[in-house]
Amino acid sequence: MSKLRPQKEYEKTGAFRFFRWLSGSKDPYVGEVEMKPQEETIIPESTILERMNEKRMMRDKIYDAENNKKLRLFHKIYIASAILFSFVLAGLLLYTVSCLPPVGNSANPANNEVPERYIESGLQETGAVNIVTGMILDYRAFDTFGESNVLFIATVTVLILLHNKKKSAKEEENDRIYEPKNDAILQACAKVLVPVIIMFGIYIILNGHLSPGGGFSGGAIIGAGLILYLNAFGFKKTERMFTEKTYKAICFAALTFYCVAKSYSFYTGANHLDSHIPLGKAGHILSSGLILPLNICVGLVVACTMYTFYVMFRKGDF
């Protein structure tokens, strides 16, 4: 025989909550929804009148716009010359475009021996199925190193400009207003989406030499996923895994590895050095020599940079 539970004990069970929800006697989200009615921004009428008055005073007293014939003439000439200049510029640019060689023509000046070499022997020399990746991380790896450094320098500049540890209490409070704290919808979506986004980014980085993508795009996707996680769960949770120290360590390690692997161009000039790393079978994930580790390095730097940009803009600190 089943025993009838006392009311207080029954209220703690899941069945009670389910039936309460089913009957609609209590909606769990009422009173916790963050939606607020929007309102159009209304500027008080007095300030508008004041401004209009000021403008009228300026026109009447200083420039004497009604009787100043020179000013009127200048305005007319100004508008006419602006329109004329725009039309001349547009015509000039269109004329230049019409003089360019047609797209896809085999006799174009871009189709010289350089892309021929890349397309014909790129697969054997670099081992990368994706010719673009083979180009930017093998033939032109030194240029990509410069790009990574540009990103790093940009972050350092942002760090210098926005870094302020001392913060007034009011500003901190202000920062908390906009932080979506415990937003149920955002958190539920982020729980599902963030792992998928980060996995997709990792896939793009690791498959950079086989399919479209590569370090930069994959890193940007991972950075976007991290930003979404931060927005949903706040700074406390992300600081468990990502702090200023992590950023410094990852960027330093990745850039140093890239530098060690590819900066011999400083000393050898245009002469190519063989890395003696086996290229492997084309199409396998562990192939094409140094391209895979370099892709991972670029991806790490880009992901950290994107995330750090956002954190610096939000808080001005880690």
Partner: protein, 98 residues
């Protein structure tokens, strides 16, 4: 396919013009986001999926998020918030009277 590309290019021009003409900064950021999205579709049509992925992640994602953060920093979104909080206060007062 050519028709589809023409529609995309037309949308691109409309977006580029409406960004500069919209009064609200928030709206212009949203239009800029859609501009990047259409641009990534055009990259796919031009057979460069590498660029399409990068454009979608950087142009539509990270750049506009940074723009939002900047708008917050320069207190461009604050007015709406204050207005709504004022509205709430008046509502609460009305509820008490009832």
């Amino acid at each position: 396919m050519i028709l589809f590309q023409c529609i995309l290019l037309g949308f691109l021009i409309v977006c580029a013009i409406s960004v500069s003409f919209s009064r609200n900064l928030l709206n212009s950021i949203l239009i800029y986001m859609s501009y990047s999205l259409v641009m990534s579709l055009i990259w796919v049509c031009l057979e460069s999926p590498d660029l399409a992925i990068t454009e979608a992640a950087v142009g539509a994602g990270v750049t506009s998020i940074l723009f939002f953060a900047t708008l917050k920093k320069i207190h461009a979104i604050q007015i709406e918030k204050e207005k709504s909080s004022q509205l709430e206060e008046t509502k609460e007062e009305g509820g008490e009277h009832e």
